[in-house]
């Protein structure tokens, strides 16, 4: 598979580029992890300097990079100053949590966006089309933060949903069914926020691509052969409208690890988001690099997935 090889090599180059730039930027960003200690009157500046040198922060950038690469190759992905542990062990658990959240959210937004976009594309200009378009532009202009706070407020008022976290305190004592229910109720608020935030863009894209395709002669032909409207939309038009949507889907996949930062922070979801935010605020350098690298991995994976899907969906691209 020559093509795959090439894409993998591209992906690796991309990862290297990202890591180099990450290091560069982090070097440019003011302050370092141990700066906050300086504010503590009880800690002397010598101690801070000693800590800096212990973690190699006083070394020049290339040396730090080389050390980091070494640690990546050793499977550690660098070292967190704050947690005193390898970055990989920090990321793995949180990446899993983030993926649980974002995968569900992506799934739901596509499950809603596709039928909705297809439906309204069939009758552009109808009231429900206008309503959806108005609704999506409204959603587009509400910040994610406001959405999530709104939902949390609702959760508090109604007592229907937990207001944050991933599991309840007594999670371990619950049975399998109880655990599932507990997890699902905790998922509702963040997932809904993410769905609401990504829905408008998706719906608009689905609709636009569908409107284009529905003008094509083969749709008219299929109608002329007596194909019913549902079949026409989903069996004929949707696959043909697929290409831009698949690229978009690739982007959704690419954003799986990085797309939910704020929502995770506000809802206390124990994912990569809070870790990354805290790490970048406290300049826990390697945690940031590690998190960015893992989202780059997803990016590479997402675009590869999109390519594969394009080939699967669009026969014109492949030659058998």
């Amino acid at each position: 598979m020559k093509y795959l090889e090439r894409r993998v090599i591209h992906g690796i180059l991309l990862l290297i580029g990202v890591s180099v730039l990450c290091f560069l930027f982090s070097d440019l960003a003011p302050g370092s992890f141990f700066d906050e200690m300086k504010l503590n009157p009880q800690i002397s500046s010598e101690t801070v300097a000693a800590l800096r040198s212990q973690y190699g922060l006083d070394k020049p950038l290339p040396v730090r990079y080389a050390r980091w690469v070494e640690s990546v190759l050793g499977g550690e992905w660098g070292y967190s100053f704050a947690y005193n542990s390898s970055v990989r062990s920090l990321l793995v658990v949180r990446a899993r949590n983030t993926l649980l959240l974002t995968t569900l959210a992506t799934l739901f937004s596509w499950l809603v966006a596709v039928p909705l976009g297809v439906w309204i594309s069939n009758h552009p200009g109808k009231w429900y089309d206008r309503l959806s378009m108005g609704g999506t532009s409204l959603l587009l202009s509400v910040p994610e933060l406001v959405l999530v706070f709104g939902l949390l407020y609702f959760a508090i008022r109604t007592h229907a949903l937990p207001v944050g976290g991933m599991t309840s305190v007594g999670f371990d004592q619950l049975g399998l069914w109880g655990k599932t229910i507990d997890l699902v109720t905790h998922l509702i608020v963040p997932v809904t926020t993410l769905v609401l935030a990504s829905l408008p863009v998706l719906v608009r894209h689905v609709r636009a691509s569908m409107v284009e395709v529905l003008k094509l002669p083969f749709i008219q032909a299929a109608r002329g052969h007596g194909i019913g409207p549902a079949r026409l939309l989903f069996r004929y038009a949707l696959p043909a409208a697929g290409n831009p949507l698949i690229s978009l889907f690739g982007l959704s996949v690419a954003g799986l690890l990085s797309g939910s930062l704020l929502v995770e922070v506000i809802t206390g979801w124990p994912g990569i988001g809070p870790l990354l935010l805290e790490a970048s605020m406290s300049r826990d350098l390697y945690v940031v690099v590690g998190a960015v690298m893992s989202s780059t991995l997803f990016m590479v994976f997402g675009s590869l997935l999109a390519d594969v899907m394009l080939v699967v969906v669009d026969p014109r691209i492949r030659v058998e």
Binding site: F25, S141, V146, S303
Partner: protein
């Protein structure tokens, strides 16, 4: 044509919004930075026609707002005196469109009463005035960032799609790189390099340009796709046979195809970039006080207690919705027109 009427309506709507923003000094009754420390978080003033005694008045009036003695940030109306709302009143000085000094405001009430159409914020500043003034910065920022992104995206997308080969390959890899990099660090770094002395507005707009610059990747990818399709048209080949240069072909035959996507993207990006400022403020990169902007007005909503206790703090979001709605409508109308022209 109907789509023409649609365009006119959408553009008129958008223009009137922008006019209000542009003439913020005139429309707004107060200085956006003026603090009324006795009225933090005062609710919007109710404009009334019927007074406490049940009499109807032709001229709308308000009652003065007074702090409730026992509560924190709690207010009531003092029903003793009516303060009619007057048009074209003399108030604090401002510069119309930033140029002509004036003291005439569209409306106002007599002191000591104050009219807060959209309530006040933490410092008792009139939100209505702040929304209007903030619009100047936010819309400018949104347009600036959008313009930068689209311009860069257009440039790179065109070159990449038109010339293909290694240029395309490297541009698209670069785009991927730009989509994943931790830009926050770069922004922090940029902020660190900027001197503190240049005016906060300039700093802010500079950062906005940086965000805009970063955002080229997505539009570039879209535009590249369009260019790829457009450059293979027969009339491009024909144009070549007349000896047309690449520049001519790009300008006359290829670029017009991207207008639709550019417009739509612009309409989507403007509100997104305005909102981006909320995130920027979160990281200390937003516009600094006391300058208002929709971003830092909305940033108040980041505080849970504000969101829950003072509903009028949502009103800046309404302004944003209106403007983005206006942009989307204009984009849609133009898009429709372009499409009806090309099929």
């Amino acid at each position: 044509m109907a789509s023409k009427r649609k365009i006119v309506a959408a553009v008129m709507f958008l223009l009137s919004l922008h006019l209000a923003i542009l003439l913020a000094g005139f429309v707004a009754p107060y200085d956006p930075a003026a603090q009324n420390r006795d009225f933090p978080f005062a609710p919007p003033t109710r404009v009334r026609f019927v007074d406490a005694a049940g009499h109807l008045h032709a001229r709308p009036f308000i009652y003065q707002c007074v702090a409730r003695p026992d509560g924190i940030y709690e207010y009531e109306e003092s029903r003793e005196l009516r303060y009619p709302v007057h048009l074209f009143v003399v108030g604090p000085e401002y510069k119309l469109v930033g140029l002509w000094p004036s003291r005439v405001h569209l409306f106002g009430v007599e002191a000591p009463a104050q009219i807060f159409l959209a309530g006040t914020d933490n410092y008792g500043r009139d939100q209505f005035s702040r929304i209007l003034y903030g619009g100047q910065i936010s819309v400018a920022a949104g347009l600036l960032a959008t313009g930068t992104s689209l311009l860069l995206g257009l440039l790179i997308g065109c070159v990449s799609g038109f010339y293909g080969k290694w240029l395309d390959e490297s541009a698209m890899r670069l785009a991927e790189l730009f989509l994943v990099l931790p830009w926050l660090y770069l922004l922090l770094a940029v902020r660190a390099f900027l001197p503190l002395h240049i005016s906060p507005t300039q700093t802010f707009l500079l950062l906005v340009v940086v965000i805009g610059t970063i955002g080229w990747a997505r539009p570039a990818r879209l535009i590249r796709g369009i260019v790829l399709g457009a450059k293979n048209r027969k009339y491009v080949t024909a144009s070549r046979s007349f000896g047309a240069s690449d520049y001519y072909i790009l300008r006359r035959h290829v670029l017009p195809h991207t207008y639709g996507i550019l417009l739509t993207q612009a309409a989507l990006l403007v509100p997104q970039y305005v909102i981006a400022e909320v995130t920027l403020s979160f990281f200390g990169l937003g516009l600094s006080e006391p300058m208002p902007s929709w971003g830092n007005l909305l940033a108040n909503l980041q505080q849970y207690n504000v969101l829950v206790s003072y509903w009028w703090m949502f009103l800046p979001a309404l302004a944003l919705v209106l403007v983005s709605f206006g942009y989307l409508n204009v984009a849609n109308a133009f898009h429709e027109r372009l499409q009806s022209g090309s099929t």
